[in-house]
């Protein structure tokens, strides 16, 4: 355990200003060399320390936004050709979202809702087709490839599948060292030292440096993936389903590791997952996505305590609770059908085809994300700040109470 370690937060802040790589590297090394032993055991002491750090680091300035998405769009063109109509999959359909410095923003939704595409679009691993991604005053979406490459140091990704995302022909040292070499953050022999430090940071033994991915379990591979992401000392990490492929006890380890690293390095996470229990556990705020749009956004606890939008309600009610007594009693909202095809999403509110509260207007009006309660946004024309509860509104026979834009006629 690293008892007497100061956790320098200057790195990232300096890094913003100073693109000069040497400086970033120096502070990085100082930071990493202090981590001597893998913190495999998450004991009460560590937990307390992490919590204290987290409290100190996070939200000292609530309004400080790290990443700002404005009307971000990712459309995939499909079909087309001489006689065929060109269609678009609107994977991300005009998302505006602020990610605050030091927070974990959870992004949940069903598969195909565009949550992974959104994560990739922020890093431009998938090219946005419209809108802006502001990071440090720069619009990432419109940087040249070269300029974007420089920014990638600060923005990293952890992938879902620790089996597919690591090159099987590279050993651990090469995998973790690659980004360090690519970005020229280190030359020659010291890359190895850095790699070993990183391995210990994520709780792996230095001895494994020459081993290959297939020799590791899923949890260990995910640690390698995390170490690789940390290698360039990023400020922001998109974690795309990082624990979905892991065993329960290992999931807890990775979640705790992510929390510890966040506290130590003042990282900002976009945590993408369909596991609502994990999202609730890790996230400060949660955004719910449905067919390319954000339909609800609120504090992590708030959204579980009082989901407002019908889709969120269904999503949360679907989470199995590890308690047979509760499971026996609770009533589940079972949604019918799958997520509709994003190629031809339902008009108006995309959710109206599965929504138990849908009325005729839902097909004609596209709901806007409205602040229903303080810091709690939802997109539904049947709820408003005055009438936040759709059950009551439905019982009273209230129709449209909130704003929205009419479906454009095409």
């Amino acid at each position: 355990m690293t008892e007497d370690k100061n956790f320098p937060n200057e790195t990232s802040e300096n890094g913003e200003e100073l693109i000069t790589e040497n400086i970033t590297v120096e502070s990085t090394e100082a930071e990493l060399s202090a981590t001597e032993k893998p913190t495999e055991v998450y004991d009460a002491e560590t937990a307390a320390r992490v919590r204290a750090l987290a409290a100190a680091n996070r939200f000292d300035d609530e309004s400080e936004v790290l990443i700002s998405l404005r009307n971000l769009q990712v459309f995939f063109k499909i079909g087309g050709g001489l006689f065929k109509e060109t269609k678009y999959v609107k994977a991300v359909d005009g998302v505006s979202l602020d990610i605050r410095k030091g927070e974990t923003l959870g992004l949940v939704g069903e598969s195909g809702c565009g949550k992974s595409t959104l994560g990739k679009a922020i890093l431009r691993l998938t090219e946005p087709t419209g809108g802006q991604v502001f990071y440090n005053g720069k619009d990432l979406a419109h940087l040249s490839p070269g300029e974007m490459r420089d920014q990638r140091k600060h923005l990293q990704m952890i992938f879902q599948d620790p089996y597919a995302s690591l090159n099987p022909r590279m050993n651990v040292g090469q995998i973790i060292g690659e980004p360090i070499r690519t970005f020229g953050l280190k030359n020659g022999g010291s890359v190895e030292a850095r790699v070993q430090d990183l391995m210990e940071t994520v709780g792996m033994s230095r001895r494994f440096v020459k081993r290959y991915p297939h020799e590791f379990s899923g949890g260990q591979r995910q640690r390698i993936g995390i170490a690789r992401a940390l290698a360039v000392d990023p400020e922001f990490i998109v974690a795309d389903e990082p624990i979905s492929a892991l065993d329960v006890s290992i999931q807890a380890q990775i979640m705790n590791l992510m929390e510890r690293l966040q506290a130590e390095k003042n990282l900002t996470y976009l945590f993408i997952s369909h596991d609502l229990r994990a999202v609730r556990h890790l996230s400060d705020r949660v955004a719910v996505m449905y067919l390319g749009k954000i339909v609800e956004l609120a504090g992590g606890k708030e959204i579980y305590r009082d989901p407002l939008m019908p889709y969120t309600k269904a999503l949360i009610s679907a989470v199995p609770v590890p308690d047979p007594e509760i499971e026996a009693k609770r009533e589940r909202i079972i949604l019918t059908g799958d997520v509709p095809s994003p190629i031809n999403p339902p008009k108006g509110c995309h959710f109206h085809t599965r929504c138990p509260y849908a009325i005729a207007e839902c097909k004609q009006i596209v709901p806007q994300l409205v602040e229903i309660k303080p810091e709690h946004f939802a997109a539904c024309i049947r709820i408003s700040p005055e009438h936040p509860q759709i059950d009551e509104n439905h019982a009273k026979g209230l129709g449209v109470v909130s704003e929205g834009a009419p479906v454009s006629q095409r």
């Binding site: 998450y42 069903e110 065993d247 329960v248 229990r277 994990a278 609770v321 590890p322 509760i326 949604l335």
Partner: protein
């Protein structure tokens, strides 16, 4: 043991070993359980705990070599499954006992239409004609809630979403109205809303058709709502076995307790960090002499590293493999009563 008292499957001291370069891997090492008609049994464990191998053994799907069922009885409806020839097994498998796998993409043939794959089952087992099989396939797709079943039948697996593929798998598994359905992580690859649908579907089909179900999962949330009793497996052994409510309320094994604590529980959790079972699951080829969990166990004492733990009976239906089972149980009770 006989089918007369409503027991559909009884597994007794099952041992399935694998011969590897690394030595003998005792993937399943002395598992005993019973499943009554219409009952749902949950088997919980992490990867490598032997939960899948247990069920592959029951289905006689263990690749031989390297694997081999070296000991124990598997009695399915009075039939000793171990003594059957491969041809005889084939007649039961898919017809009287069926299995749903975790990954519906890899368990469906990507080159064949859904119709071909669904029809094959009933043509083979029920002797359906092509027309009968086709109609039955449509009926089954409707049963599992696939809209527009008729046109979907001509599709290929890749044209289906994950949830839909799993529905196809379930339709296939239930085509011959089996008495036993083994669902191996059926919802792990699915979204929560779809998971809820699939679990609801299994529950519904279970009550409608009276099928007995073995639900293998690592998700304690899933078994909590679905099962009557649970087996917790670790390193090829049954670590704990109890009725579902009792297992959650008063676990008598430190591993079960650790598992329960390491799952974020949206109903109870209030800003606490997760309990984390340290270390990794053991290498089953090289198990230590004592308790296989001792290395990772909070309350392990000297005896745990030296002596293999006893399988302690807590009460009629509750067993735990632990030197301190009674103590752990008492602690759980004290905690629960509080």
């Amino acid at each position: 043991m006989s089918e007369t008292n409503g027991t559909i499957l009884s597994v007794n001291n099952l041992k399935t070993y694998f011969q590897t370069e690394d030595g003998v891997v005792k993937a399943v090492d002395g598992i005993t359980f019973e499943l009554k008609k219409g009952e749902t049994l949950g088997i919980v464990g992490e990867s490598g705990s032997g939960k899948s191998v247990t069920n592959l053994s029951v289905m006689r799907l263990i690749p031989e070599p390297p694997g081999k069922i070296v000991d124990g009885d598997i009695i399915f409806n009075g039939i000793d499954v171990r003594k059957l020839s491969i041809d005889e097994v084939r007649k039961i498998r898919g017809k009287r006992m069926a299995m749903i796998f975790q990954d519906p993409m890899t368990s469906l043939n990507p080159f064949l239409k859904i119709s071909t794959q669904l029809m094959e089952v009933t043509q083979l087992h029920l002797g359906h004609s092509k027309q009968q099989a086709y109609e039955h396939a449509i009926k089954m797709l409707q049963t599992v809630g696939i809209p527009d079943a008729k046109s979907r039948l001509d599709g290929y697996p890749h044209e289906f979403s994950g949830g839909m593929r799993q529905r196809v798998m379930i339709a296939m598994a239930l085509s011959c109205d089996p008495e036993l359905l083994i669902a191996d992580e059926p919802t792990t690859a699915l979204d929560v809303t779809i998971q809820a649908q699939i679990l609801e579907l299994i529950k519904d089909l279970k009550t409608r058709m009276g099928t007995s179900v073995i639900l293998i999962t690592h998700d304690l949330g899933v078994v909590a709502g679905m099962t009557e009793k649970i087996i917790v497996m670790y390193a090829g052994k049954v670590f704990e076995q109890a009725p579902t409510k009792e297992l959650f309320a008063t676990p008598a094994n430190p591993y079960t307790k650790g598992l329960l604590k390491s799952v974020p529980d949206p109903a109870h959790e209030e800003g606490t960090e997760l309990y984390q079972i340290p270390g990794l699951p053991p290498d089953v080829a090289h198990l230590p002499p004592g308790c296989p969990f001792a290395e990772r166990c909070e309350r392990a004492e000297e005896i745990c590293r030296v002596d293999y733990p006893p399988f302690v009976q807590i009460n009629e239906n509750h067993w735990s493999l632990c030197h301190f089972a009674k103590e752990v149980y008492a602690e759980s009770q004290a905690h629960h009563v509080k």
